[in-house]
Symmetry: C2
Subunit: 253 residues, 2 copies
């Protein structure tokens, strides 16, 4: 049950029962963390990674004045700092946003799983590459969208991710973020985010009240934020050639 959602909708990279069981049995500890607690600091040497079972977590970089830029946000089913396994040290901090339930997986146990079930390695690699793809979408957002577009893009992306996790019905989802958090995600000030939210509300694109996001017409919001979910690499209904990741197979291809 712990990692049910992990890689669930990713083309060709879903875990087998066996792989999921192996990961779950590698969990050394499950715990619930208070909201707004930093659990990993940049430059610390790490020997474990954190899988998020419930709640919301963030990864961020602070500037020299303490002004914060979020570089990622994570929801239930995300392997928050899996990249700490190959990297050993992170270049950013990791914190809870809401209260969060996490499963801790020691890197030593991860190593054992990969040795026992080598075909899991490309899937874990894949999972970290999805994070990188999301980073790129965020770069696009910050570099090329205006304030309204950035928020629209973020809320659309979040809708898509939460739908995939079974946490949004496509029109409405719970989001435990404050306007300050949106500002730190979108590279804006809190005051300006407030005005942007009003604009989105006035335009009928999105309501965000007491931790619920309502999106009457997701397509319109997506258009305003130039959002296209292809970079999330979810299985799409159209099927298409779902290339699976290679190694462990013969060099056919």
């Amino acid at each position: 049950m712990i990692m049910e959602r992990f890689l669930r909708n990713n083309r060709g990279h879903a875990l087998t029962q066996e792989e999921r069981k192996a990961l779950e049995s590698a969990v050394s500890e499950i715990k619930t963390l208070a909201p707004r607690k930093t659990i990993v600091r940049a430059r610390e040497i790490l020997h474990q990674s954190t899988f998020l079972m419930e709640g919301t977590m963030s990864r961020y970089i602070d500037d020299t004045n303490g002004v914060r830029q979020l570089v990622a946000i994570h929801f239930a089913g995300d392997f928050v700092d899996l990249h700490a396994y190959p990297l050993g040290i992170l270049d950013h901090d990791v914190a809870t946003t809401t209260e969060a339930t996490v499963a801790i997986i020691p890197h030593a146990a991860l190593g054992k799983i990969i040795r026992d079930l080598p075909q899991i390695a490309p899937k874990l690699w894949f999972a970290t590459l999805i994070d990188a793809a999301i980073h790129r979408a965020w770069l696009f957002r910050l570099g090329r969208l205006d304030a309204v577009g950035r928020v629209a893009h973020f809320l659309s992306e979040t809708n898509a991710r939460l739908m995939s996790a079974g946490l949004s019905n496509g029109h409405r989802y719970a989001l435990g973020l404050r306007q300050t958090d949106l500002a730190e995600i979108c590279g804006l000030t809190t005051v300006h985010v407030n005005r942007v939210m009003r604009k989105l509300r006035e335009d009928g694109l999105c309501e965000f009240r007491s931790s619920w996001v309502d999106i009457p017409e997701p397509a319109r919001l997506a258009a305003r934020g130039q959002f296209d979910p292809h970079y999330l690499y979810f299985v799409d209904e159209r099927g298409g050639s779902q290339r699976t990741c290679p190694w462990g197979r013969e060099p056919a291809d």
Copy 2:
């Protein structure tokens, strides 16, 4: 010789002779590409990756009006789209910036190498995670720095990367970019980049003339851009506990 620079300065993840030879013998083709040619489009199914031996390449996402945001820039010694191997499809385009010499490595051959030399897998994984770390630094740059800071940060980062590749002496390097490219990297307009460059010149922080970047005092430029190279994961002189990536070893740690 082909991949001499690859992972050269990365802590604990340098390739062994054997691994490098294996990768180099997997090269199916070496070719020189004209400047400003797009060689990979988002959503194409890929069966090979591109290693950059000489020149400069970029990865980018265009908005619906064709305004471009670069999400990465690559120099000699970078494995430009290694992530295409686990992903199969990219979420962005890839292009040459200058004329470039590249080595093509079929994914089938990569699979074979990983099966033959499993300890290379975490190193390749690591290489793609460095790209992700750079994405995060770019997010910080776009989200939290002003125009002068963004350019200062980028030029400092590039100095650090090129030093590691042996292509900068720490004060001066060749950079085949136009002001338009800087704009697409830093999320600015070309006109404003022009003014920023003048400002950097006036402040004695940086000269950028006819493809050469001169940085009299790298520390001052870095300070202006809040640049700290730790996210590049280069070996540092201070040594420190150079954690190497695990699997293939016993679960000791």
